[in-house]
Symmetry: C2
Subunit: 148 residues, 2 copies
């Protein structure tokens, strides 16, 4: 089996992933269910944690944060417990934090206004988490966060 999420629920998830503001009425039309039936299913998916939240996608260029980068970090002192995610949680520029297998321990995705701000951000990250960093600048984003 692929998992125990049923076909109609998958269809609902697919539709909501593509348009998080779709109404229960439209979801019902698309799935052949009544409004109240879809409503009940969506609430159940939310309660089970299958749907973890709803968001709007923002054009960061228009918001003055056109520079995106990946920062891979590695502890300076490998004997210390690595609680980098907690130490970096309040750094607003960090959009995502993944723990990874490989040479580095975490990959961060950050957004800043300009290279000078990236320099400042790197210094703050190194100081806050006691890590070395390796930065990869994003040139463009062909696509991002597509529903899978």
């Amino acid at each position: 089996m692929t998992s125990d999420v049923e076909a109609t629920d998958r269809k609902i998830l697919e539709l909501l992933a593509a348009d998080g503001r779709m109404s229960f009425t439209d979801l019902g039309k698309a799935t052949g269910l009544s409004t109240s039936a879809v409503h009940q299913r969506v609430k159940r998916l939310e309660a089970r944690g299958t749907i973890t939240g709803y968001g709007a996608s923002i054009d960061h260029d228009q918001l003055g944060l056109p520079l995106t980068a990946f920062i891979s970090i590695r502890p300076i002192d490998p004997s210390q417990p690595d609680d980098s995610p907690e130490r970096l949680r309040d750094v607003a520029e960090i959009e995502s934090c993944w723990s990874v297998a490989g040479d580095e321990s975490y990959i961060l995705k950050v957004r800043v206004a300009a290279p000078i701000d990236l320099e400042d951000l790197l210094a703050r990250i190194r100081a806050a988490a006691n890590v070395s960093t390796r930065t990869t600048i994003v040139l463009s984003t062909p696509y991002e966060n597509r529903p899978v």
Copy 2:
């Protein structure tokens, strides 16, 4: 200036980024505007492309896709034009594609069910885009897609 998006619009964007299904009525209460005023502002932000869309966040573990990885790709033949994003667009497992500066040309973020599916996916990516790959497995995701 930080950009020409005005303070009230920023507040609306912040609220919608955190809860994409928030009603216009609640957005009005949170911003001190009437329902129709926020409605007009949101429609304008959508028309200008400041809001690029709405989505639901899904728990991929529950959907049978618990394995996330980053795949960095590099063209085998650097003399050819690199149209990897187009060649890889129809590969459903690819959630995001970023063009980057550095040793590799693109970073892909993918989701699969199990290591065997990653092996299969890597073969398909190499064949479709004529690239070499470097894969980094995600162990856990402390946070992801936070509003900045």
